[in-house]
Amino acid sequence: MRRSVAASVDKVAGPPAAFPKPPDRYRTFTALVSWAAPASLILIVAVLILQARPAITRFGLNFLIGTEWNPVTLNFGALPAIFGTVVTSAIAIAIALPVGIAVAVVLAEPGARGIRAAMGIGIELLAAIPSVVYGIWALYVLAPWALLHLEIPITEHLGFIGFLSGPPGQSSLFTASLVLAIMILPTLTAVSRDVIRAVPRGLRESTVALGATWWETVWHVILPAARAGIFGATILAVGRALAETIAVTMVIGNRFEIPHSIFSPAYTLASVIANEFNEATGDIYPAALVELGLVLILVTLTVNVVALLLVRSAQARVTI
């Protein structure tokens, strides 16, 4: 019915003509500037590929699955570093996400006006600490503390689980994850807090008006409503964790192997580059390091794409 009316209107009036676009310097300029971002990404990747070429042609795909890193025999494989990068970030998120969301929920409470400013600034200042300072602090304070109060008890009581087995050490995959968790906490918390505060007040009020408790309101309505935004915050945080270099380098132990336990030393893509680039000579060695950089970009990109797909499927699925 409605469609036929619309169709007949179209017949009379014809499709609306597109607005003519006048030549406009402002438009040209903004277009150029906005293309600069994707263009620089492409240029960076192009330069990296160029620089990494000797390694790419020599190792091919074996670079991604090789586990040896030997500058003497010039045999390079990236798998242990990929493993270290992905696993430290994953553990960091697993630790920081619950804490970050919990803090964000509290800070977004209408009744939290008094502590919101103080705590908010405190959390945001965490983001202002340079990562090398985090590294020093982690080396002298966090690592010894974690060894005594986390690693030793865990390996003693849960050591029978393979990846939690000993011996514990100050420089380990776990310590690096812990530092990362603290470093990504501000992003996670600040973005989640803003997203949760943006949940329409009506949703909170209607839930409370139905006789729901505070916890039920937060868990069943507020967090699901803020889900997409919290996911976005997590992606930002993962990006930072994957790329973090110096603080991780200082506490991860820098051993190029896939560790059997999270309490063993390991290596990440970024920290290999940071540690070895100065000393890399010849043709293949620096090229292999540059290729590690390429792999890091690839990992970050993959994580982002997977996250995007997850968000879409989460939006398609609607449940409690």
Binding site: P200, S206, V208, L210, T213, H220, V318
Partner: protein
């Protein structure tokens, strides 16, 4: 301006408040946001299973008064109420059984606020929190949607997201969600102000239907709406000297609109201010 309205709504019910038993007995209620007084000395009785409209210009405290009836003001830091509001023999200002109170007194807000989940899950939300059996819940979902006059429109797509409904349907869904825990009272805060005229009429019809079983209190800035649907009307006004809201007049709707006792009521309903 306002026509005599003996012919609209449910004139047979428009007797004096004393004729219907009181659901809420409001006694010298004063309300404060921090140091600011928002309501002063409000005393009246809301009759059971009738529609009571609260009208008045913006800022006169209508919504504040409505939010006392289910203690929604607890969400506002520093808000407090004095006096007493008795519901079924218990003073709700001092009760500690807030969850029970809110089950008994449902609320519909100005903007439709469906939860980000399916139509079914929206209605089943509160019953699930109460831990009712799932067979009972699916029965309740259908009953509530039928009562809210929405079942015929959504029965074939209960699992569709609630946000896919139109504004008017969303508002009826919210009403169904309220009905699911069998409240006694439904508070409505300008429930039609975000809706088009057709959707508004549907909600108004629904309210008249629901008033057979539920006590309804509606805040509206639309005098015609108050005249069309309500059995009793309370007129509120902000005291210009002290800036708190006062109850000026409370009467059966037809009386209040046709023979207002207070000159301020008359000025308002004839459109001289507000």
């Amino acid at each position: 301006m306002i026509q005599p309205m003996a012919h609209i709504g449910r004139p047979e019910l428009r007797t004096m408040p004393g004729a219907a038993p009181a659901k809420f007995q409001v006694d010298s209620l004063s309300f404060f946001y921090g140091k600011t007084q928002a309501l002063k000395d409000i005393t009246f009785q809301i009759p059971e299973k009738r529609i009571t409209a609260i009208i008045g210009p913006s800022g006169c405290g209508k919504t504040t008064l409505l939010r006392v009836f289910n203690r929604m003001y607890d969400l506002v830091p520093d808000a407090r109420a004095k006096g007493s509001v008795v519901l079924d023999g218990e003073d709700i200002l001092t009760t500690t059984k807030l969850l029970l109170l809110r089950q008994k007194v449902g609320m519909v807000f100005q903007r439709p606020s469906p939860f980000p989940m399916s139509i079914r899950d929206n209605v089943a939300f509160a019953p699930r929190l109460l831990g009712w059996k799932s067979t009972k819940i699916s029965e309740i979902v259908q009953q509530s949607l039928e009562r809210a006059a929405l079942w015929d429109e959504v029965s074939d797509r209960l699992d569709a997201p609630a946000t896919s409904l139109s504004g008017g349907q969303q508002q009826r869904l919210v009403i169904a969600r309220c009905l699911a825990v069998s409240p006694d009272v439904i508070l409505m805060d300008e429930p039609c102000s975000a809706l088009d005229p057709v959707a508004t009429l549907k909600i108004e019809d629904l309210m008249v239907q629901l008033a057979h079983d539920y006590t309804i209190v509606i805040v509206t800035h639309n005098m015609q709406q108050a005249a069309r649907v309500s059995d009793f009307t309370a007129f509120m006004l902000m005291n210009t000297d002290h800036r708190y809201g006062e109850l000026i007049e409370f009467a059966p709707t037809a009386d209040l609109f046709n023979q207002p006792q207070d000159s301020r009521t008359e000025a308002y309903i004839t459109g001289r201010f507000g």
